[in-house]
């Protein structure tokens, strides 16, 4: 039986801006099992990054979680104190971010930053009572070797700006996995990289994930990346998950009109079909459309879609939110 590690229930997040209240998340439900990679896909502004930041409790100051629960190993992450949460961060839940150029501190060496993170989590290291520098060095070196970093000793002494984007992202992977967390939230980890390096980084991530049996939430707008990497996929639209299921099934047989649109927008090498884009743009979440938020762009829109938001329907292991299936 699969062991549930993360359970997000009815999560609602608002951003308070001068334009008004932006309802970024409107009731997100999400399950994640141990050792599983879940892809979180959607257009810019669909709320996928906000979901990740909510789990990490790193939302910007003007954002509030207005409702919902996030259970991690049975504890509600939203209810524990910042201090308690800081013990979980790094040790249990780690993050990898989009742009490695801006996520490493420019004025400290890789070693300095890596060491600080390890030192702050020294309880999680074996023989925690006494940490000697040598031991730390060993951990850092082996972590960097894990991500196939060449010339490890030299890299440790370098500053972030002296490394290429791919190398920096591998440093981030090394840091993330060195603490052997149960959950890693990877927010567009390959978007800022060249295509060739993307594949490398994803390969390393998959390998380490298998090695440590880590659960991963992979946030990306690139369905190709999800197809290659994930077991499960959740499609987000306007702050809700509109479709959820196994990657193989969702990709072979998309149910939600939005997912269908995404699939058709995907360029394919194997069959010769015309790439279609979804008409219209992501709705303004200050004043979202009535009923189903997708109905203005939906080719199958019915009368009911304008009035009533759809409830989730379950088809085998899959979930879809659309009036077509209710």
């Amino acid at each position: 039986m699969d062991e549930k590690i993360l359970e997000v229930k009815n999560l609602r997040v608002n951003f308070y801006t001068y334009r008004g209240v932006v309802k970024a998340l409107n009731g997100v439900n999400l399950d994640l099992n141990k050792g599983e990679i879940l892809g979180l896909a959607g257009e810019t502004g669909s709320g996928k990054s906000v979901t990740g930041l909510s789990i990490l409790r790193l939302l910007p100051q003007n954002a509030r979680v207005v409702e919902g629960e996030i259970f991690f190993k049975g504890r509600d992450l939203l209810k524990i104190s910042e201090k308690e949460y800081n013990l979980i961060r790094g040790k249990e839940i780690n993050a990898i971010f989009q742009d490695p150029h801006t996520y490493l501190n420019p004025v400290f060496t890789i070693k300095e930053q890596f060491k600080d993170i390890l030192l702050s989590k020294k309880d999680s290291l074996k023989n925690s009572s006494k940490i000697d520098i040598k031991k730390l060095d060993e951990i850092m070196v082996s972590a960097l070797k894990d991500v196939k970093m060449p010339a490890v000793d030299r890299v440790l002494r370098m500053y972030p700006h002296e490394l290429s984007g791919g190398m920096k992202q591998r440093v981030m992977l090394a840091i993330a996995f060195s603490l052997q967390p149960s959950l890693i939230i990877a927010d567009e980890p390959t978007t800022a990289l060249d295509v060739t390096i993307q594949a490398q980084v994803l390969e390393i991530m998959k390998e380490l994930q298998r090695k440590y049996n880590t659960s991963v939430i992979l946030i990306t707008h690139d369905l190709g990346v999800i197809a290659e990497t994930c077991q499960k996929v959740a499609i987000m639209y306007a702050g809700r998950i509109v479709e959820y299921g196994r990657v193989s099934e969702v990709f072979r047989n998309p149910l939600h009109p939005y997912t269908k649109g995404l699939m058709e927008a995907l360029p394919r090498a194997d069959i010769d079909v015309k790439v279609k884009s979804i008409p219209g743009t992501v709705p303004d979440l200050v004043s979202p459309p009535s009923g189903c938020t997708f109905h203005p762009r939906c080719p199958y829109a019915m009368e009911i879609c304008k009035r009533q938001s759809p409830r989730p329907s379950y088809v085998k292991e899959r979930m879809v939110e659309c009036h077509l299936y209710s």
């Binding site: 801006t17 001068y18 910007p60 100051q61 003007n62």
Partner: protein
């Protein structure tokens, strides 16, 4: 359609900025101070005796604040409150005029420097470097000394010291816009590029210049009062705050009010402008918003 939207957005922006501005209590407070001193500067001579600075009454000298003389009297027996009210005109107008002139000069020279580039730019920027390397106050002192002590020379000296900041802002804006594609595109179409350039540079440059200018008014006021304090201001019988403080300095331990109240006037007037400038910067800097 798109055009309308942009305008709407702009209107919303300005409206929002104004709303933020009015909500900021400190800015409102600063504005009140500035309005107060502006009124004094304009109507001062109608409110109090305009000839007070010539009415020497030694029998009444060095009187501490009483109901009759709320701020006390100076060493010549003149009522300090009335002197301070009259002083507002000189200190306010010289600060405004120096900053206005300095802005005009700075914007012009900065635009020329940024637009022309090359040798011209190099020479102008080196020149501002040299001016910056000069100790500002000493420079102003030297000029007023050389030209002679008068209000006009004080104005000239301060303007000469103060224009470089505006030139630098303006040059930076012109340089950054010059590289942008639409300017290059216009150039290739044969449209005189400076037309497009300035159409886009001015809206961008106006905010930082506005902030700098507002805060500079306070700074110039301090310098003007300071130079006048050390005896480089207008004639001793023209009421002016720095000069009054100078008078008070000689009687510091027996009549501290003489230097105290004019100084308070300098401090609050300058503070008024700085409060507005600081608020402006917060409102106009989109990075500080959220």
């Amino acid at each position: 359609m798109k055009k309308v939207n942009e305008w709407e957005l702009k209107k919303k922006e300005v409206g929002y900025a104004l709303w933020l501005f009015s909500r900021n209590k400190l800015v409102v407070f600063g504005s009140l101070i500035v309005v107060f001193y502006t009124i004094l500067a304009i109507f001062g001579p109608f409110i109090v005796n305009p000839k007070i600075s010539e009415q020497v009454d030694l029998s009444n000298a060095l009187k501490p604040p009483t109901l009759q003389h709320i701020f006390g009297t100076d060493d010549l027996g003149r009522d300090l409150l009335q002197l301070i009210v009259l002083g507002a005109r000189f200190d306010m107008s010289i600060s405004l005029m120096v900053v206005l002139t300095a802005t005009l000069i700075g914007v012009t020279i900065g635009s020329i420097s940024g637009y022309a580039g090359g040798k011209v730019d190099e020479i102008i920027m080196r020149f501002t470097d040299i001016l910056l390397a000069f100790p500002g106050l000493v420079f102003a002192m030297g000029i007023t000394m050389a030209l002679g002590r008068s209000a006009v020379n004080l104005f000239l000296a301060l303007t000469l010291v103060w224009w470089t900041g505006y030139a630098r802002i303006m040059r930076g804006q012109v340089l950054s816009e010059k590289e942008k594609l639409y300017v290059q595109a216009a150039k290739s179409l044969g449209i005189p590029d400076f037309l497009i350039l300035f159409k886009h540079v001015f809206p961008n440059a106006i905010y930082p210049i506005l902030v700098l200018a507002t805060m500079d008014i306070g700074g110039v006021m301090l310098s003007a009062a300071g130079l006048s304090f050390i005896g480089l201001g207008p004639s001793p019988f023209e009421p002016e705050w720095g000069q009054l403080i100078n008078r008070g300095a000689s009687y510091l331990f027996i009549a501290p009010w003489i230097m105290f109240f004019p100084g308070l006037a300098v401090l609050t007037a300058s503070l008024g402008f700085n409060l507005i400038g600081d608020g402006l910067r917060d409102v106009l800097d989109p990075r500080l918003r959220r």
